[in-house]
Symmetry: D4
Subunit: 253 residues, 8 copies
């Protein structure tokens, strides 16, 4: 039940087309996404430029293609598909317009080339091995309407490389710090920057990194203020949140 339907429903109550007893039952059993919470989702889509994101990892090419078809028929464009294999991309491409990015394994179906981008999201990482996660974050933020600056060569073991970009860091509205191994990048950037830092631990490394645990714990224990953490390898989550913060408007007085 959307807003119009709700008004229509209430008019029927008013006009005796539906009894108050029946109305009570309908209200109690109506799916909640029809009277309130679904609007949230709907509004969210309109406001943020991406109506839905498809997590491709556990879905077959046929399933992904079906969801894309359904969304496209409902007039949705700019459909982001994360963790999508090359095979799935090839399959979806047969019937749909798809832009596929191999490094982050992400696809954008029915891309709207006219997305207006604003603000400034900086995505920083220490090594090339973290690039897949970085690009997932970058694509997500871009498709949602944020300007993205990539700083992909700034690991803490050569701190001067990072310091050389301190201007960029200080001008950012929000920074995504992506790092595996010891994950120290988040703390160092958190100490340099004035803005929120979203830390993304990655599973890059071996031995005592235990699948990203070392970077995760390191980032959670960051001694710098303004740093928060998302799941290991969760580039999408970081990009989504970065865009959300980047799009913040001034609080009303």
């Amino acid at each position: 039940m959307n807003k119009e339907e709700m008004l229509e429903f209430l008019r029927k109550v008013k006009n005796d087309e539906i009894s108050v007893e029946d109305a009570l039952v309908q209200l109690k059993t109506a799916p909640f996404d029809d009277i309130g919470y679904a609007k949230v989702d709907f509004h969210r889509g309109i406001r943020q430029g991406a109506n839905e994101v498809i997590y491709g990892q556990d879905k077959t090419p046929v399933q992904i293609s079906g969801i894309v078809k359904s969304m496209h028929e409902h007039g949705i464009s700019n459909i982001l598909i994360t963790r999508m294999s090359k095979e799935a991309a090839d399959f979806v491409s047969k019937n749909h317009t798809l832009e596929y990015h191999e490094i982050p394994k992400a696809g954008i179906a029915y891309k709207n080339e006219n997305i207006k981008r604003t603000g400034s999201v900086v995505i920083a990482s220490g090594g090339t091995s973290d690039m897949a996660v970085c690009e997932e974050a970058a694509l997500t933020a871009e498709i949602l309407g944020s300007n993205v600056t990539r700083l992909y060569d700034v690991g803490v073991a050569g701190i001067h490389r990072l310091l050389a970009h301190s201007e960029t860091i200080m001008k950012a509205r929000v920074i995504v710090a992506v790092a595996g191994m010891e994950g120290a990048l988040a703390s160092v950037i958190g100490g340099l920057a004035d803005c929120p830092v979203i830390a993304v631990p990655t599973s890059v490394g071996y031995g005592a990194n235990f699948g990203g645990l070392s970077a995760l714990l390191s980032m959670l224990n960051s001694c710098a203020s303004g740093v928060s953490v998302v799941n290991i390898d969760n580039g999408f989550g970081a990009g989504y949140l970065a865009n959300m913060i980047n799009k913040m408007e001034s609080a009303e007085e």
Copy 2:
């Protein structure tokens, strides 16, 4: 070396008052906090209303009192002291104006009652046991200049209590979700809200919560978008970041 000093230094080079060889040495050995990065810290204090936060846990009452004295003499007010024992508070109160909050074990020395607060930070928790962490977050955000709304009775095991406050949740600019045990609050709020959600796992619980690990992992794996996580029991970190996001201004076009 601040900007003016740097210009003066370069003028001396120009005017042969200092040789290029000596200038090279000075540039290489100049403390970096004298030419740029220290300003960051200084600016940060001015801009955010709290010049410095004292982490009281591993400090003696004498040490805390000494730091407060030093800061006060430099004209700093609104000095937040976290994880401060009652004993330390009593000691510091002898020589300084201190407002002490017993639940979060936090003190504010030389409080400036005229802090102007803006925006809207919502701090939500499921049970009364999490209140110490919540209040640490709330006090931090308030002292830094944010309006704070407390929702302390909204655990997911009685989801209607949370839903009853959905208006508050939807109007928030940023939400801090504090929860121990299964930590599900962050996901549920993340699904309801349009704004960034900062999840704070707490060590409240027993048995298989392993000192907060259950809530921590739960929050990191949140299936809701827009959620990020800080360290277990880190109310201060959440409040600091919440204020930072709450104070965001609109991006320039």
Copy 3:
């Protein structure tokens, strides 16, 4: 808004005492605990004989006493307080009728001696060290209206002790198996019994039990069917669920 209020509200819509536009707003903002979900809690209390349980661990004697007072004034009896210290019990006893059990550290305020008990819950444990958890489970099930049989001497290292009680085990409607150390009791009982088995790992032991982890993992991996697990040391949860299962009525045809 309860059922009557809701009908009244709908009548007002019908009679033009409230406009459909205003009705829309009211429906969207009505607290959910006023139209449905709060009733659930209320009904639950009536149906199960215990209106509320107080988790005493993180509460002061004053707080516990206050909650008991409030509940008592609302006509509630049989108030169970778990993880309550002796000190808290002494304090509460000053102003309220309280039956205190030292081993499980549980109190029952304003106990209703006329609780009718039905069915058959068996609570089994291997050693005397697990008795506090067992008694918490037993008291909970009893206060909620279940007959409880205690089997406290039946550890798997002397399997004949358990087998000697096989009649009791086979006649149970539901069994709570409490064990620390290797937690094997749940599997052995699960293999003997026809009814649901609720396994409670305890933190009893030392060294490689890691605070109950060994028994927890052991029980989760039980090769017997019909076994499920609650948190380490969670006697209350097991007793509550045991009573719930014990009270099951036959499904309608």
Copy 4:
């Protein structure tokens, strides 16, 4: 030795056909499955409609086929085979009547189409990725004789989807809550429902879910009462226990 044989044996002792000394030896060495405990297993099969379940994971197609053949020859039907590969299913199908379900990788050999189903088991999950585990639970409960309702679109990040089905949840006799990632579904359903909730953590997710650990710990720490937990991905165990609870009959007065 069954009951009749035992009586016969005792009669021989009485009639001096066997000396008391020899009887002593026989009693001490008689296999216990001949005098009591084996009957349990036998009765269980008759009473519950499934004589035996074959865990297919570590068995070869030949082994599975052999066990099916043996059971079939003993007049057993409705043989459930879990974790059975497509290859094994193809092999078994050559010689036996087999209904194979690809998603849960489960087979039913010599299915009895006339199983009478009673009661109400609800199986709920948050995402499509958990479907294999859900279907294993559903098939198990159905083959054992329970009515099953599937709610597969009700994750907590969009709480309204779950609330839209609150009628179904409240009418259930027992609920299986299947969830990966943060596993919050169990707590939310536990708060809504009056009946036992069996929580099944799944290994769905990545990074800090550590193979299902996050959902497992989350569910064990559920702040809702009436919730217990089975092993990660253990759909069979949940379905088996759900059926057991669903089939509960009223306790005698």
Copy 5:
């Protein structure tokens, strides 16, 4: 330097064929396996019937074949090769007499059919999935000269199956208890038996068994006396130790 060589060396010192100074140097630099400790190894081989065991897991077929060749040329028979792939076995068989056992992936090169076996080692397990580990233990004990009794159908979830074999258990000189999942078998057997029990946790299972951790912790926390534990899946180690204990002779008065 063996005993004879050592005596010869000392005679040379006596006869001035070697100066005391040179003798000092020789003694200090002589490989220790030449004067004492190597004898241990040598004696061990003679006494136990297997001179050397080859751990095949990280070795190529060529390497294994080479070691077998070297040992055979030194007159060694009954060469046990553990964790040997079928491919390696096929390769080694080309040039050597090899008896290969597929289930435990173990080979015996140049088997001595006349090994005299003594005593009584019982190897018990709960399920067929543990058979590979059991057979590795059994083969090891047998090749070293122990009589082995296999009890492979005695899991604790059907305790009567185990009890039916209590005579066998009580007559054993040493028992190897192999179990995955909850690993309770070791405790139950430990409670029944009078002899040392060697517990072998296996990695059989899924979910919260975490690669054998659940059985490992369970066995380490066994409340039965006389139980000790070897590494997960370490059938060889258990068989080796079982043989060692089985071969114990009476202590001298």
Copy 6:
């Protein structure tokens, strides 16, 4: 029912003093410790010289004293009480003859000074910090009737100290290797000795020893054959098993 009672019972069946039907019931419900398994326990006590061991950790002085009294009245001497506080020892001493050992916190009530000791158990440790665990093992083995040799200064960081005692090691019938920190002692001794080695990890150490985990894992992964492991700090378990192995008699031909 002991052997005599069982014969008497069977005679009654024979003589019609008890009907076969009643006999059936009695046999099925007779406590199993009366017809078979209890004898095991009883025999064990007689054979091993210690009828019962009291684990004192979770028991009050009154409880311990009561158990000692009960055992003493049944004619039992040499009662070992482990993990007994000084306070408990003082209390028990008031009414009973007690020999108390402060380092291992172990007491022996009604000690039989005439225990005959046989064989050779060697207990080795690396540092003085492990002495409490060592002494618990030593006392246990001694009270059960084993000769014990203590080697308490033989840590692997000074390997010569261990090698100086190689004669002792090589002559042992069974060795208990007690070590915290890196737990390497078990492997080194396992490489030197021909006899079974029981490794006891201790919680001695700090930091990354994680309460004994480092020594535990180290010992489980020992590359030496003939080594098995008991729980962290479980001196009693090691001493009990060591005595059991030490008392082994030659297998019959």
Copy 7:
């Protein structure tokens, strides 16, 4: 900006070829690797004989080949490539001079055969399974200019093998101790040697070694002084550090 460029830049300031305002901007934005810290890297290369190391694991053959080409064109030889697959080596060999070592999967491009080696690095391991890690360490130290002695047959389970090489151990300037399983080698060597010992835990083993965790914890808890630890399987890191220590020169008076 290197030293010469910096002097040139300062001269321009002096000579008014660049204004002080512009100079300020240039200094603040100049990449830090141009004014100081990069020199460190540059100097390091010259001093140590290997300008750069390529971590091959996450790079494609094309990428590796491209980096080698770039470095070669800048006059760099002795380029070490670690964790390089056979396929990558074959590809790189097409266009470049490459010496490939299969066991450690390491390549050296444009090897300088005239490297002068000094000092003494000893690399010790217990078993052949650790050889890949050992050789990675050895090659790294050799290519950087250290003499390397390999002791690959000295596991602690046969301590005499290690003691036979005590002369070599005592003469080393630095020792790399590589071990999987229980990792005891580091402690034993640490007790024998006078020089720094770098411990490398390996993932060799199974079961409770948990991917190298057992050896890692064991080495971190070493009771020998002078031992430090690098990441699991990190042969390169150990070889690099060993060379660094080996090349130490005497401190100035």
Copy 8:
């Protein structure tokens, strides 16, 4: 048997004062600390200026005092006692000359004020909370004869503080990097310095630092070369190793 005694022994063999058979026995049973390995320890003490270190944690004041007395009587001075309580220090001071340092809880008995110090060890930490560990490292290195520079205000969250000391860092011969929380200091220093870096994780922090685990894993995964790690809070181990490296002399040509 020292060198002289060994020569004497061999002379006796030569002169027939001892038979070759008896000599064989003596050689086999001679304690190894008498012919070689004990000298190592002795030499070590002489060479390094500290004959012995007393780990005070698990020792009573009486025990510590006794060991000090024994060492002093053997002419040893500069006796370092680590982890020594104030109470123990007061007790030892009664009878011995003791310099006690409260922060690192370390004592030096019979301090030799004339220790000559050489080289340069830098000890860096991020916060004042790590000072106890730092001072333990510093005192250890100083008492062993190294010059120590303390850098205690250089955490990575304010990277400019560290960079201001880059000259000091670059001139160090060896650096000890002490850090809790995220432990990033080791990587940043490792990237700046040319010398070996010994990383010491500390248990400082809370929540997800899990007693130092976060810093430990972070340091083990350091992406900087030349970094190795010691146990959590092991200041002594770091100081000992730092002195050992600092004292390195140039390798012979």
